[in-house]
């Protein structure tokens, strides 16, 4: 029996008396919404109709394309972006506050704050006096290029700005999503344990810089700094590592110098290009 109108295999009319001509030899398309659980003859015609599309496309190609547009947008206004990644509570916002208070007088800084909920971090950054926008991802566990692109255009950073994009606290997903940054800065704290680089190798491999925070707490821990550094270098030999304490303000100068030097080199390259 046909599931469309209830007619038998050779019937040409229904009890209601309407005449219809949809015998079952025809291909009765799939414009109507019915599943294929019923038996309406052979599915051979569908088998023949299917075709293979070779895509050979990078799964994240759309995100990567938008990330490049963000980079181009920043280059046009002589600005650069750093993507701040790391686990929740590693000290990303504290590092930002310190950085802004020290470098804010030397160069224009703007901030995009990513969190699942609340604008608490944006509020902290606002206190420092720099332009900031909060992006709430809701159920999303990372920022993607589209969210950052939209927010960047709303933020309208001054020409020559350094834009810090603070990602959602997460050691997994942000590793995969380029948001248009010039470098990924990974913030990890020594209290998270020295095995983190081995447990989350992808994010340590993707990072250009590791800021190892909370070194003031080392005396209370069983392992020394070398264990963290060694494991981080095992998964990423090119990683540039800064050991700091954001709360005590220790060891930050070399990191600030790196930010200034990288930003100047990038904006000079953008102007030259």
């Amino acid at each position: 029996m046909c599931a469309v109108c209830g007619c038998g295999p050779h019937a040409s009319s229904l009890e209601g008396g309407h005449v219809h001509d949809h015998g079952h030899a025809h291909a009765h398309g799939h414009d109507h919404a019915h599943d294929h659980a019923h038996a309406h003859g052979s599915h051979d015609e569908h088998e023949e109709a299917s075709r293979l599309l070779r895509l050979e496309a990078d799964l994240l190609s759309r995100n990567d394309r938008i990330a490049q547009e963000n980079r181009d947008f920043l280059a046009r206004i002589g600005s650069v972006a750093f993507n701040l990644i790391g686990g929740p509570g590693s000290g990303k916002t504290s590092l930002l506050e310190r950085t802004i208070r020290t470098l804010g007088r030397e160069m224009p800084i703007a901030v995009l704050e990513g969190d699942q909920e609340t604008d608490l971090d944006a509020e902290r950054i606002r206190m420092t006096g720099v332009p900031v926008l909060q992006i709430n991802t809701g159920s999303g566990c990372h920022l993607n290029a589209e969210m950052v692109g939209r927010s960047l255009r709303r933020l309208e950073p001054r020409p020559g700005s350094v834009v810090f994009v603070e990602n959602v606290g997460n050691l997994v997903c942000p590793a995969l999503f380029d948001v248009g940054e010039h470098a990924k800065i990974l913030v990890a704290s020594v209290t998270e344990g020295p095995e983190k680089p081995l447990k989350y190798p992808q994010i340590f491999r993707e990072a250009h810089v590791l800021v190892l925070n909370k070194t003031d707490l080392l005396p209370h821990l069983d392992v020394g700094l070398h264990a963290y550094v060694e494991n981080a270098r095992r998964v990423n030999p090119d990683l540039r590592i800064f050991s700091v304490s954001c709360t005590k303000g220790i060891g930050l100068r070399p990191f600030f110098d790196w930010i200034v030097a990288t930003a100047r080199a990038e904006t000079a390259a953008a102007r030259g290009g």
Partner: protein, 109 residues
Amino acid sequence: MHELALAESLFDLVVEKTETSKVRRIRIEVGRSLAVVPDALRFCFEIVSKGSSLEDATLEILEIPISGRCSGCGWEGSVEGSLPLCPRCSCAVELRSGGELRVRDVEVI
């Protein structure tokens, strides 16, 4: 944990390429270094594609083993598991394979 994000990206990409065509099968290559759990990715994709032209598509995941050259001692070969570390000296292995995240092909009706 990143499976949902990947499922969403996969969905967007395939819909962009196939438009309204009904998709029967999707074949993707995933390198082991990304530590993607195939069952979790399939589960997320099922949720993401519900009610769309991709709803009935079978997701075939080809896992690509890690291989490459050690940045420390120069050792070359394949590495078991998802951690690209040299089995000889534990240094990072420069990936020749195992970092893939690609849609190979799709079968549309």
